[in-house]
Symmetry: C2
Subunit: 469 residues, 2 copies
């Protein structure tokens, strides 16, 4: 058999295994070395076979990780671009949020969390960094750290270079998590009665915070792949007095969208033109499945109008309460608000995280975490393909750990929620993520917990419940 | 010599030593056992001698600590009751605050700090509690602690019984320090444009926070011994719309005042009657020099109108950022504000402090700290008596670690400040503690650092500079 036919034959064999379900979506393929040995072919033939399969969308290579099956029997449709309607109150969503929180205790398959679960976080290694921090800080972290840990700020600034962020350590204000950073930004730049704009669906924490401060929230049309719609944004900016905009530009929670560079540029320019500060919530940017971390809106910020907020709460240690904000031209204002409201952040946690990053533990951990989450995403998409009705739509994010499922108008997610809880499965109804009467047919799934047969069973049950609706 | 004359003779000898300066204010006296042995008298005679000296104000007994010289050659006068005048802006005091912060680096005798210095805090033992907490928390504190550490809340509630506080653990909301607790209270119960009332002088952090939120601040006449004047309070409540009142009822920073129970009761009733919530900042209540911890306003709160705020930032670990608020009838509101603005507090720090308290380390540490600070207060008052001009007035607090010095209208504290900095001594000018054009002749001294000849020298220099003004 000539060399060309040989690699095509290998590709065909593997394709057959995939089509018949012998190899499932998310499964890791044998290494090229193994193929070479098993088939007695050259390295280049084995490689060509995989390239062929990849180009036809059956498999995908992940850096330092190997090849994975990505083929799904049917093409999953993406959710439709949202179009928010009339505004309702906060009361009903508070009820849903509380119900979801309280019911979690009763469930054993939790698909509604907003952070990767502890099993995926590096507890033992982080403990070592805590002990190192007790030793390296002259006062063991007992004293105030009024100006924030400078070493940590330098490391955050260095990491920003990965997405083209030109940020100086002195521009970074450490905060007790990302919500803290967003809250200080809102307190500094808005006043009660002002209107802010957000994506839709939007993380309910933003809605709660805005209401608490007395702000009106305008939800804008959002695409499940590209994020907020620039045209809709322009229209609103032209016609209304807007005080501030908050966006989760990468791997949005809950919608999964990641704004393309073009959209980021356009949105940054637009907001700058209308003098509307942009708070960029970058909680998920590190969770890219591809090789390269996506840019941020901050990457394209030339005037200092973008307030870049992030934290280690999703990637490393939610309980440490360490986040930051690099606030561009609003630095002085937000820095003062932070110190007036809370003086300082936990000294020990800041030093422990700096130590963890310095020792390359953070990058190592992130590589593992991304690989794991990518694999989970494939498993989830496979299960959804297999078990959910044909007509459902689902986001297929290129990062993060969250899926948005749209069931179609005749199915109700709150009804599904109740039925799922009775089967001890916790999901997050879409209605939690808007002030408006919408997303009643949607729900959010998190794949941030260790993959297990129990979770597959949970998704199967969920599929059955959706069929029955 | 008969027994009666014997004890009087001993008392007279010691009185002579004190009057001639052989024994100085703050010096520890020989133990009763030593007196008995040296003089060859009975235990009861030695004891009687000390009781005689104590009743005449020459010495004072401290529990588990012995007898100390308290006599000062001249009686130090207390500062006059304050009478705030017209309101000025925040700008000028921001400048002074910044100058004081920045100049500290240049100084080697720091008498302007707002917390006891690290040397007085139990670093090594607290580190042990951190390591224990890493082990005792199932996730080593990496996970969110959304509801707050319950063990810690129970311990705070138990400790509240010492001042007659009937507080249930479930009523306690943990926060990232006391300012955080006060900020959440203000954000929950006031809106921009509202007026709040405070003592005068008042901790500048309250002024900064209030301005940041857009609140107007009304400073009320305050007595350096008994705190806010109830009559003045009543007059204001009758005539003005007030949204909230903040008081540091015990060992006020910077004035040193401690409200007597009667005043606490009256103030609580008054505010309740006028429907004005009281935020009680109880940062200093644990610093009592006497045997008994003073009551709080919260002790006399029957309607849930008092919002009791505290922290471990002054007593134990400023850098840990652990405080709390027990908000009475405002619990739900403030609890929501806390979780919307910051989600949770640092999990590890809460557990470490709970561990530290549970192992009786906290009470042991507090006993030592109180004894040390009491002794410092005597040393400071002795130095002020010896080195400062006769006509100055100074607070003599029964707890805390702060003194307020009033120099008289012809002397300017900012001028003194500049001269002191040139001698590498850092004090806190009175003007920092008011929005009004007053306290220009006052300054604050902290005795929260280890006593040393260098500090005595600093106070001597300061006295010289005041003489020269």
């Amino acid at each position: 058999m000539d060399k060309e036919l040989l690699y095509l034959q290998i590709a065909k064999d593997i394709e057959h295994q995939i089509r018949t379900g012998l190899l499932k979506t998310g499964d890791k393929l044998p290494s090229i070395r193994t193929i070479r040995q098993e088939r007695g072919v050259s390295m280049s033939t084995a490689t060509q076979a995989y390239i062929e399969l990849e180009s036809r969308g059956f498999i995908e290579s992940k850096p330092q990780s190997g090849f994975f099956v990505t083929y799904t029997k049917r093409v999953l449709q993406s959710p439709t671009t949202t179009e928010p309607v009339s505004v309702h109150g906060m009361e009903e969503i508070e009820d849903i949020i509380e119900t979801v929180y309280n019911n979690r205790k009763k469930c054993d398959t939790i698909l509604s969390m907003g952070t990767p679960s502890i099993e995926l976080l590096p507890v033992a290694k982080l403990n070592k960094s805590v002990v190192s921090a007790l030793r390296s800080l002259p006062d063991s972290g007992i004293g105030y750290d009024l100006r924030g840990n400078y070493k940590l700020k330098e490391l955050i600034a260095q990491r920003a270079m990965m997405w083209g962020g030109k940020i100086d350590a002195s521009e970074i204000i450490t905060t007790a998590g990302c919500m803290d950073a967003i809250a200080f930004s809102l307190l500094s730049l808005t006043k009660a009665g002002d209107t802010i704009i957000v994506e839709s669906p939007v993380y309910y924490g933003i809605l709660q915070l805005a209401k608490n401060i007395g702000l009106k929230v305008l939800e804008l049309p959002t695409n499940s792949i590209t994020g907020i719609e620039p045209d809709a944004l322009k229209k609103v900016l032209k016609s209304k007095k807007i005080s501030l905009c908050i966006l989760v530009s990468n791997y949005n929670n809950p919608y999964g969208s990641c704004m393309p560079d073009e959209n980021k540029k356009t949105v940054v320019k637009l907001l700058e033109h209308y003098g509307v500060p942009l708070v960029e919530d970058d909680e998920y940017g590190e969770f890219h499945f591809g090789n390269k971390r996506p840019s941020n809106c901050k990457t394209f910020d030339e005037s200092g109008n973008v307030i870049w907020c992030g934290s280690f709460s999703k990637t490393l240690a939610p309980g440490y309460r360490v986040g930051w904000v690099s606030a561009g031209k609003f630095h002085e204002k937000i820095s003062r608000t932070k110190s007036y409201h809370s003086l300082a952040c936990n000294s020990l946690a800041q030093e422990a995280i700096a130590n963890f990053i310095e020792n390359s533990r953070y990058d190592h951990h992130l590589r593992n975490l991304r690989r794991t989450l990518y694999n989970h995403s494939l498993q989830f998409l496979r299960c959804i393909t297999e078990y959910f009705p044909e007509d459902i739509k689902v986001s297929s994010p290129e990062g993060g750990f969250i899926l948005w499922v749209e069931m179609g108008k005749k199915r109700n997610a709150l009804e599904l929620y109740d039925k799922a809880v009775r089967k001890k499965i916790s999901i997050a109804p879409g209605r939690m993520y808007t002030l408006q009467n919408q997303y009643n047919d949607c729900f959010k799934l998190s794949f941030g917990m260790p993959w297990s047969p129990k979770i597959e069973q949970g998704l199967k049950t969920l599929g059955k419940l959706i069929h029955e609706l």
